[in-house]
């Protein structure tokens, strides 16, 4: 008697499971065919940092004050700058980021008094070389076309 009941309840469980699974089967697929398709990154997505441009002068906003360097918990940032003739503030000459240690916490961005850095939306960053150990953000900044 007990065995019969167990078989019955087992079959019922199975049928219920099958029914629910089958119902899911006919739902529309939501798979995104990465890498042929990608989803848009949200506004606040935290990729590695980059230098921001002053929309008026086209130069980097960074004044090499080194506050971000000090705020970073993982010591990933190295900044240097020079004082150019006729300018009130320093301009950045070197901005190196060791992205392999960056935890994308945003402390640097929050620390910056001139709003000179921002997160990128890059995420396809797998690499077989040491590229990200020493990213030259000033060079990257120069290579980027000015946005109008």
């Amino acid at each position: 008697m007990k065995a019969v009941r167990e078989v019955l309840s087992g079959t019922k469980s199975l049928l219920v499971g099958m029914r629910l699974t089958l119902r899911e089967f006919f739902k529309p697929t939501i798979t995104v065919q990465y890498p042929h398709q990608t989803l848009p990154m949200p506004e606040r997505f935290r990729g590695h940092i980059e230098l921001r441009r002053d929309p008026e002068t086209g130069k980097a906003l960074c004044t090499a004050c080194k506050l971000c360097e000090r705020a970073c918990p993982s010591d990933c940032i190295l900044v240097d700058g020079v004082k150019l003739e006729g300018e009130k503030k320093k301009s950045v000459t070197d901005y190196h980021l060791n992205f392999t240690q960056c935890s994308l916490c945003g402390a640097c961005i929050e620390a910056c008094p001139s709003d000179a850095i921002q997160f990128t939306k890059r995420y396809n960053l797998a690499s077989q070389t040491n590229d990200y150990r020493n990213m030259d953000l000033v060079q990257r900044f120069k290579d980027q076309p000015e946005k109008k």
Binding site: E6, V16, C105, E110
Partner: protein, 375 residues
């Protein structure tokens, strides 16, 4: 059916052998090693050997400023990062007597509860996968994805949020997020019924969990076990109710608890907690006030000399952060009392005489996160 009660484990023959479960075993969810002394299929001794993913999070606190420790907090239990950051900022806020604006507290509650649901969904999916049912984890991840999308839009990150700051939260939420929360609550309730029909009522699951992995309230007390493990042993202890922090006392929710003390009870506690978290989110989204999201915070943080504690209910139990300050701008000591460490401690005693597959199920019901044990 073989009843574990009739095991020969009490009188081990001299033919025991040692079996390593982990550190690379899928059922140990990461890198936990359990040294099993087996008598046939029965466990005579299960000795957990943690330490394979030790990253010195407590020590790291001593060589960085108070604010620089924030990213660490989301990397201890990476599945419920919000509650960990909450405990740490709470301890510092308590020391500095900082006021947190009401809107920020609401945001904290909403994001913490979302995080709890996503954590339970992973726990649920992985647990069922340990038992051999692969499909449910895909459903769980589908629903969890909705939470991650919501949180990503607000925090910029999908797992290690680092979203709370001393005195508030770093970025405000928008109406899209609040609408998204409402839509999620609406979506999730029928999904819970679906989960119940598909998995909870399934006879195979019940046979594998009911009456297995008995943990008594007394054992929980001896080992300091907490969270769903404790509540599965009929102790309705939840930090959110018993020592309310933040604004949890403004919400109406229950503490699910089950008297059986077996794996099924712990499973049921988690499923019911998802329901309760949805209730909290529902109320919080309806009541969230307008206002600032950051209180007044001094530019350079220097804590007064002393010890400061703050406990939160993380997804896996009571998390206590204790910070000691000697008046400098770095902590003197950061201590994390994490739930999984205590929950793992009782494994050795409770798994004595169990069949190996039952022990795997039992371990799954403890819902361990290994970085939380090692930290």
């Amino acid at each position: 059916m073989i009843a574990p009660k009739e095991s020969t484990a009490g009188t081990p023959s001299n033919e025991t052998f040692t079996l390593n479960l982990g550190p690379q075993h899928p059922a140990t969810h990461g890198v936990l090693r359990v040294k099993l002394t087996m008598d046939g299929e029965y466990i005579t001794r299960a000795e957990p050997v943690p330490g394979y993913i030790h990253r010195m999070h407590e020590k790291m606190g001593e060589n960085r400023t108070w604010a620089q420790y924030l990213p660490n907090t989301s990397r201890v239990d990476y599945l419920s990062a919000m509650t960990y950051t909450h405990a740490y900022v709470g301890a510092v806020e308590r020391a500095l007597k900082l006021e947190v604006p009401l809107r920020a507290e609401f945001i904290r509650v909403i994001t913490s509860e979302l995080n709890r649901i996503s954590s339970h969904l992973v726990g649920w999916g992985a647990f069922v996968m340990d038992l051999g049912g692969f499909t449910p984890i895909l459903y769980a991840f589908d629903d969890r994805e909705k939470i991650l999308d919501l949180l990503e839009a607000v925090t910029g990150s999908r797992l290690t949020y680092c979203y709370y700051r001393f005195g508030g939260v770093v970025a405000d939420v928008d109406t899209a997020f609040l609408e998204g929360c409402k839509a999620f609550v609406k979506h999730m309730r029928p999904r819970l019924d679906f989960y119940r029909a598909l998995v909870t009522d399934n006879i195979i699951l019940r046979k594998r969990l009911e009456g297995i992995g008995m943990v008594s309230a007394e054992m929980c007390r001896r080992y300091g076990a907490c969270g769903p493990v404790l509540r599965g042993s009929d102790v309705a202890y939840d930090v959110r109710k018993n020592e309310p922090y933040s604004i949890y006392n403004q919400f109406d929710f229950d503490i699910p608890h089950y008297p059986q003390g077996d794996s099924m009870a712990r499973y049921n506690v988690r499923m019911d907690e998802i329901e309760q978290s949805l209730r909290i989110i529902d109320q919080a989204v309806a009541k969230i006030p307008e206002g600032p999201i950051m209180g007044k915070v001094p530019r350079v943080l220097k804590l007064p000399v002393g010890d400061f504690c703050y406990a939160t209910e993380a997804a896996r139990g009571r998390l206590l952060v204790r910070v000691s300050s000697d008046g400098k701008d770095t902590p003197y000591r950061v201590r994390l009392r994490t739930p999984c460490f205590c929950n793992l401690s009782l494994f050795e005693e409770a798994s004595k005489g169990m069949l190996l597959p039952d022990a795997i199920a039992f371990m799954g019901s403890l819902d361990l996160v290994i970085p939380d044990i090692d930290r």
